[in-house]
Symmetry: C2
Subunit: 415 residues, 2 copies
């Protein structure tokens, strides 16, 4: 363990104890001051961002786009911080409470996780969003972002830390790891003594690296091999609208649909219709044997690995299934437990699908694109959990807390 990482962890743990005791009112004042400071310091942050951008060569446009800040984007992110200030504070809520036979009064109370670690790619907006969400939920945060955004992240953290200092709060509530080696990232994932939870945000590869190497408890986020099943009773226009939305509104994100299952009874009718709509949206179709038979030359045959693949692109694979059972069993075999939808007008089918599909979010007659903290009404999100431990689905402020049992007695001893 390097000296410096250990110190960062220790500082975060000390800061976390102070954060846990702050009033909601103070936290909201500080968040609004942070938003103002980020806007005031826009020229400095953009200058740091320019430095980072000057160092990036040979990178994809998509990557550059995510790394780039503008005054407009920064204003939008600062507004997000103000929105976090406006959200209800989950801390102090009592989830449940009861008295035991021996007269103990037990309350299960919401408290912060403590120290949250975030490992992410070169997206400076994540730095600000995560810091704001963790601060509001009473957690200290340690940020380890992509090295391509390092100067931007350092500058953003400096702005936020200056606000904390102005409020006489511990600056180490928000810390950025500035050493970008893989060795240090590895040690960060094993800093059990100080980090309570580690959240990786980014590509499937990044997330898998964290899951494989971390000894700190991890919340796995993200990968989405999402399906839509069109039942034989579906309203085909509803199906088409939802499929086009779920596939094309933003194909690069995890809640975009990647696979379409169509009941054989309606396949001859529906497939040409949806193929035409997909073609109009420039979506490439990969079909199973029956789909290829029906659609002919306009589709590529799907390979076995297609059913496992999250394209994050203008591609969809289509399979004809003969029963709802077959659809459910295919989805439960290949999905990443993210978001799955059925399009149907049959009540029993909707019930069977929602009961038997194993996923964070199961939809009837709606687009998988709704799996999102904002759309769910959480105001903001720190990621979408695809594991079953702690949190499942979009994670907002509540998911950044844990509970503590407070037990009030009158001298009880155990018999």
């Amino acid at each position: 363990m390097t000296e410096s990482l250990n110190r960062i962890g220790q500082q975060a743990a000390v800061a976390a104890q102070a954060l846990a005791q702050l009033s909601t009112k103070t936290k909201n004042q500080v968040l609004r001051a942070m938003a103002d400071a980020l806007e005031e310091k826009t020229p400095d942050i953009l200058a740091a961002n320019k430095e980072d951008l000057a160092d990036t060569i040979d990178l994809e446009d998509k990557f550059i786009d995510r790394l780039t800040l503008t005054a407009n984007r920064l204003a939008g992110i600062a507004d997000g911080v103000r929105q976090v200030a406006n959200l209800p504070d989950p801390l102090g809520n009592i989830d449940r409470g009861w008295a035991t036979g021996s007269g103990l009064e037990i309350s299960q109370k919401r408290v912060p996780l403590g120290v949250v670690g975030i490992i992410y790619e070169a997206r400076p907006n994540v730095t600000i969003d995560s810091a704001a969400l963790c601060f509001k939920s009473g957690n200290a945060i340690i940020l380890r972002g992509g090295k391509e955004a390092l100067q931007t992240n350092i500058k953003i953290a400096a702005v936020i830390r200056a606000v904390l200092a102005a409020f006489k709060l511990p600056q180490d509530a928000v810390q950025v790891i500035t050493e970008t080696s893989h060795e240090l990232a590895q040690q960060f994932m094993q800093l059990n003594q100080y980090i309570d939870v580690l959240i990786p945000r980014g590509s499937a590869r990044l997330i898998q690296t964290v899951v494989q190497n971390a000894t700190v408890p991890v919340i796995e986020t993200g990968a989405g091999n999402c399906h839509i099943y069109v039942d034989e009773t579906a309203d085909l226009q509803v199906a088409e609208d939802i499929i086009i939305n779920a596939k094309t509104q933003r194909p690069s994100v995890c809640n975009a649909t990647e696979k379409l299952l169509v009941n054989a009874e309606i396949a001859t009718d529906f497939l040409p219709k949806i193929a035409k709509a997909l073609a109009n949206s420039h979506v490439e179709i990969r079909g199973d044997e029956q789909t290829c038979q029906i659609l002919g030359d306009q589709v590529h045959p799907a390979q076995p690995e297609d059913w496992n693949t999250e394209y994050n692109n203008y591609i969809i694979a289509i399979k004809v299934v003969h029963t709802l059972d077959e659809a459910i069993s295919h989805i439960n075999q290949y999905n990443t437990k993210h978001s799955e939808a059925i399009i149907t007008t049959n009540y029993e089918h909707s019930q069977q699908f929602t009961q038997q599909i194993d996923a964070a979010c199961v939809y009837v007659n709606a687009s998988t694109r709704f799996t999102d903290g904002f759309e769910f009404g959480f105001g903001a999100e720190i990621g979408i959990s695809t594991q079953k431990l702690h949190a499942r689905g979009p994670m907002g402020l509540k998911e950044l807390t844990t509970t503590k049992y407070v037990i009030l007695g009158q001298g009880q001893i155990r018999k």
Copy 2:
């Protein structure tokens, strides 16, 4: 990955899908039948247990005691299974539900975790308790117990599996790993494809091995370096009763108290009194400098490592502190986030202690020994979580579940 472990995982995943759909009524019938079968097959189970015991040499009495089954103990464990049948089923409960601006109806519904892995020592009661709790909460279980109990565990699983078969339910809902090598244990901890959660139960060493090596999400259980702080306003008789109970009622368990902090104002009065009571209960005292000054020869000086040590034995370390702040800061530095208590008659002190101590359970004027699923009223427990993710404190049936969002729409697409 060995062939056989992979097959066990796959079988568990298939069984889990069927278990998730069972009615509470069916599950309770099956649990009662399991309890009956365990009693009927007592001679077979005791014979297998005798085989295991015959193979154990050079082991501590405590170890042999935990491994040994008798007809009486088995009847008690079977009764525990009947109690699990009587507990409310957490599945299907809606934690919360709401409608979004776009008219989606979202419900957050309790569902099983899926496949639970348990790694534990040579304690056959854990085999039955865990199988019953996982079955009731709709989870398939894979059991990897200590090799010294292997024959007993195989026989118990056979009895339970025969009951499942009689009810035409998948026997692979309960599986025992029969290969006891460390390599296989290692692979078991990394069976991410099939296991949703891994729960280690046993010594601090076992738990650390799992935390360090698992890639599957783990719920860390157990270690308890628990403290009692006696405030200057405490009722000293209440303090004495609670300390003696918390230290001596069952010193080998994680919720037993290991450390005593005493406010300096009452130290001269209270320490001789409590030292006498502890001596009567054959408890060795290790004191900090001031405690040694007050108590003289009857105490050993505490070494720095004492403050970190969970003795699980008739030993206690005592430290004199000058303020509540000092007590809180000592506890937050050295505790294992398990159970901590203050003995006080002062309202503000009770508030400050429960708010600032970072632990799963924080007590005012009660023994730390109450941190227990039965005492909490959960009916049974699968362990006590000392981590902050997912569950914290005693874990009952609810903690063996996760949630799924069911979203009902009328054709909504995302704008």
